[in-house]
C-alpha cells in the first residue's frame, strides 16, 4: 500500500566524485556552492521550499566542507531545474557548484525536483525527482538531498539523514533526572523526541550499526542492567538480566550481538561478555581481576578494543573477538577510557585524563599516531559519525559547592580538530550516539 502512493524517480549520472576529499588532508578549504531559491507553485510549496533550502544550507555549511555563496551576489535568479544556468554568471561570483530545486503538488503528494551543476565544467552532475505523501517527511527530504550533494561532490558517504540518541539531563547535579532522547543529527527541535519518562536513571545509549535499535543501561528497580529498545516497535527488553550489574553495552557490527560488561556478584569484578541476541547465549571474553569495560568492536567484527586497569591504571587494550591475544595499545601518559572503533576501521577514538584535563583523541588501531582533537576540564563519550569523518561527544563545565555550574552539552567536531560546534538540545545533553544512515 505504501508503495502505491510513492512515486520516486532517481537518476545518477556518474559515480565519480567531483572533488576528492580525504581525511588525511587536514583542514579542508570549504567548497563554495550556490543554492538558488527552492521555488514553489503556491504558498505551501513555497514554504516547503524555504524549509528545504534552510536544511540543505545548514547541513552543508555545518559539515565544514562547504560554504554557501551570499545570495545577494547572485546574478541569475531563475528556477534552474528545467533551464540551463548561465554558468558565466555563477563563475563570476565564484560558486563552484550550483544547486537548484523546485517543489510542487501532484496527486501523489509533494514533488521535489533538484539539479546539481558543476559550474566550472558547465555541466549538470546530478538530478533527482522524488515525491513524498505529506509534509511530515520534508526534513528527511532535506537531509537526503544534502547527502546526495555531499556524496556527489566530496566522494564520501553522507551523514545527514541520521539521528542522534542521547541522554537528556535536568535537575540538581546530585539528583539528576536523565531521559533517553532522540533527534535529527542537526538537533532541530521539530525532530526532538523523548524516549523514556525519567523515572529510572538511564545511561550510555548506542545505536545498532544496521537498524533502528538502541542498547543502553537503565536502573530498573534500582538494579543497573543492559536493555535494548526497538525504536520502530517501541519494544524494550532487558538483555543483561543476571544477578549482577550489566553495563557498557555496544552492538557488534552485524547488530546481532551485544558486547558488554558484566560484574560478577560474588566478586564485583567486571568482565567483558558477548551476548547473541538471537540465541541469548552468553560468552565470556576476558578473565582478569582488573576492571574490564567499554568494549567496542572493529567494523569487520574481528577485534575488540576495551578499557582495563589490569596493568594498574586504566588503559586501552585490543583482543580478538574470542578474547585471545590481548595487547595494550595506549602508550601515552594518563588515564585512558571510552575507546570507540571508527566505522572506517582505521582509527580508535578515546578519552584521556592527564594533567587535570580530559582529552578526546584518535589513534591508529595499534596505538600509534595518537593525536588530541579537543581538550577541556571534562569531556566524555566520543561517538563516530557513520562516515567516520566526525565525532560527537559531551563537554561538562565545572560545578560549584552551591550547586551551580556543571552544564553539559553535546558537541560536533571534525576529526582534524576543526569546525567544532554545539548540537543544540532543549535541556542539557550527554552520552550522544549516532545512528546509521536511515
Amino acid at each position: 500500500m505504501i508503495k502505491k502512493i510513492l512515486f520516486i524517480l532517481f537518476f545518477s549520472l556518474s559515480a565519480n566524485a567531483a572533488l576528492d576529499i580525504t581525511i588525511s588532508q587536514g583542514k579542508v578549504e570549504p567548497t563554495p556552492i550556490a543554492i538558488t531559491q527552492i521555488f514553489g507553485t503556491d504558498s505551501d510549496t513555497a514554504r516547503y521550499g524555504n524549509t528545504l533550502r534552510q536544511i540543505i544550507n545548514n547541513n552543508l555549511t555545518n559539515s565544514g566542507l562547504f560554504y554557501t555563496v551570499n545570495e545577494d551576489l547572485y546574478i541569475q535568479s531563475d528556477n534552474l531545474v528545467e533551464k540551463v544556468p548561465r554558468f558565466e554568471d555563477w563563475k563570476l561570483i565564484k560558486a563552484q557548484f550550483l544547486l537548484s530545486a523546485d517543489v510542487s503538488k501532484t496527486e501523489k503528494g509533494i514533488r521535489l525536483r533538484m539539479r546539481l551543476y558543476d559550474v566550472f565544467n558547465a555541466k549538470e552532475i546530478e538530478k533527482l525527482q522524488l515525491t513524498i505523501p505529506n509534509e511530515d517527511l520534508i526534513r528527511r527530504v532535506g537531509h537526503t538531498v544534502s547527502d546526495i550533494v555531499y556524496e556527489r561532490i566530496t566522494g564520501e558517504t553522507g551523514y545527514f539523514d541520521t539521528r542522534i540518541v542521547y541522554v537528556s539531563e535536568i535537575g540538581p547535579l546530585d539528583q539528576r533526572v536523565k531521559r533517553l532522547a532522540i533527534m535529527d543529527q542537526d538537533g532541530h527541535l521539530d525532530s526532538h523526541q523523548f524516549l523514556t519518562d525519567g523515572k529510572n536513571l538511564v545511561l550510555t545509549p548506542r545505536f545498532a550499526p544496521n537498524n533502528q535499535i538502541i542498547t543502553y543501561m537503565e536502573y530498573k528497580n534500582n538494579l543497573p542492567r543492559v536493555f535494548i529498545y526497538n525504536l520502530k516497535t517501541g519494544e524494550r527488553e532487558i538483555v543483561g538480566d543476571f544477578p549482577g550489574m550489566t553495563f557498557a553495552p555496544r552492538f557488534s557490527p552485524d547488530s546481532q550481538s551485544v558486547v558488554m560488561s558484566f560484574s560478577d556478584p560474588n566478586t564485583a569484578n567486571s568482565e567483558i561478555y558477548l551476548m547473541d541476541l538471537n540465541t541469548r547465549s552468553l560468552s565470556r571474553l576476558t578473565n582478569d581481576s582488573g576492571i574490564d569495560t567499554s568494549p567496542s568492536f572493529s567494523p569487520d567484527g574481528q577485534k575488540i578494543v576495551f578499557n582495563s586497569d589490569r596493568g594498574g591504571s586504566p588503559q586501552l587494550f585490543i583482543m580478538d573477538k574470542k578474547g585471545d591475544n590481548i595487547k595494550r595499545i595506549s602508550k601515552g601518559k594518563g588515564v585512558y577510557g571510552n575507546p570507540v572503533w571508527s566505522p572506517r576501521g582505521d582509527l580508535i577514538a578515546f578519552t584521556k585524563l592527564t594533567q587535570g584535563n580530559f582529552h578526546i583523541g584518535v589513534m591508529d588501531t595499534n596505538g600509534g599516531n595518537e593525536r588530541v582533537i579537543v581538550r577541556d576540564f571534562a569531556l566524555e563519550s566520543p561517538a563516530w559519525s557513520p562516515n567516520g569523518r566526525y565525532l560527537i561527544f559531551h563537554r561538562q563545565k565545572r560545578s560549584n559547592l552551591d550547586g551551580t555550574g556543571g552544564e553539559v552539552t553535546i558537541h560536533f567536531i571534525d576529526i582534524t580538530g576543526y569546525n567544532e560546534r554545539i548540537i543544540p538540545t532543549p535541556r542539557d545533553g550527554s552520552d550522544p550516539a549516532w545512528s546509521p544512515l536511515l
Partner: protein, 164 residues
C-alpha cells in the same frame, strides 16, 4: 541509492507511529540512592538509618581510583558490623560511588568494587549476606556538588543504607 530513497519513505511512516513516550518527567528519583536526612531534633529511633548515621557512621571513603578499605574505613565498618549484630532485623543495601574524574563506565565498575569491599568486609565480620545487597551508582549521585578535591574525596564513598 534507489533502495535507500525508497526505505526513507517506508521509514517515514514509522516516525508517526513510533511509540515514544511524551509524558513529563517526574515521580521519585531513585529513592534508594538518596542519603538519609538528618535529625530534626527529636529522639533517634534505635536501629534506623538515622541511628546508624549519628551513632555509628553510615559511610566510608576511598582513595582516588581505589576500592581498598582504609584503616579508618575498617574501623567504621567494624562499628557498623556491631550495630548490625545488635539489630538483627535490619537489612541493608551498600551503595558504591565514584568521583567525577573518570569515565561513566569505568566509574560504574569502580563503584561496584567499592560497594563490594564494604559488603564483603561486613560479611567477614559475621553479617549474614541474606541481609545485604550492594549496588554501584558510579559517578551519577554525588554527595557533594563541586569540581575540586574536597568534593571528590566525599564522593568516593561506600554508603550503608538501611532498607527496611
Amino acid at each position: 541509492m534507489l533502495k535507500k530513497l525508497f526505505m526513507l519513505f517506508v521509514a517515514g511512516f514509522f516516525l508517526a507511529s513510533c511509540a515514544a513516550t511524551k509524558t513529563e518527567e517526574g515521580g521519585n528519583v531513585d529513592a534508594a540512592s538518596t542519603s538519609a536526612s538528618s535529625s530534626s531534633g527529636g529522639e533517634i529511633t534505635a536501629g534506623t538509618q538515622e541511628d546508624l548515621i549519628v551513632n555509628v557512621g553510615d559511610r566510608v571513603f576511598f582513595e582516588f581510583d581505589s576500592s581498598e578499605l582504609t584503616v579508618d574505613a575498617q574501623a567504621t565498618l567494624d562499628a557498623q558490623a556491631a550495630w548490625l549484630t545488635q539489630y538483627p532485623d535490619t537489612n541493608i543495601t551498600v551503595e558504591g560511588h565514584a568521583d567525577e574524574r573518570g569515565t561513566r563506565e569505568y566509574n560504574l565498575a569502580l563503584g561496584d568494587k567499592r560497594a563490594f569491599s564494604v559488603y564483603s568486609y561486613l560479611a567477614q565480620a559475621g553479617i549474614d549476606t541474606n541481609r545485604m545487597e550492594y549496588v554501584s551508582w558510579g559517578k551519577e549521585r554525588p554527595e557533594v556538588i563541586g569540581s575540586d578535591e574536597t568534593a571528590y574525596s566525599q564522593n568516593r564513598r561506600g554508603v550503608t543504607i538501611v532498607s527496611n
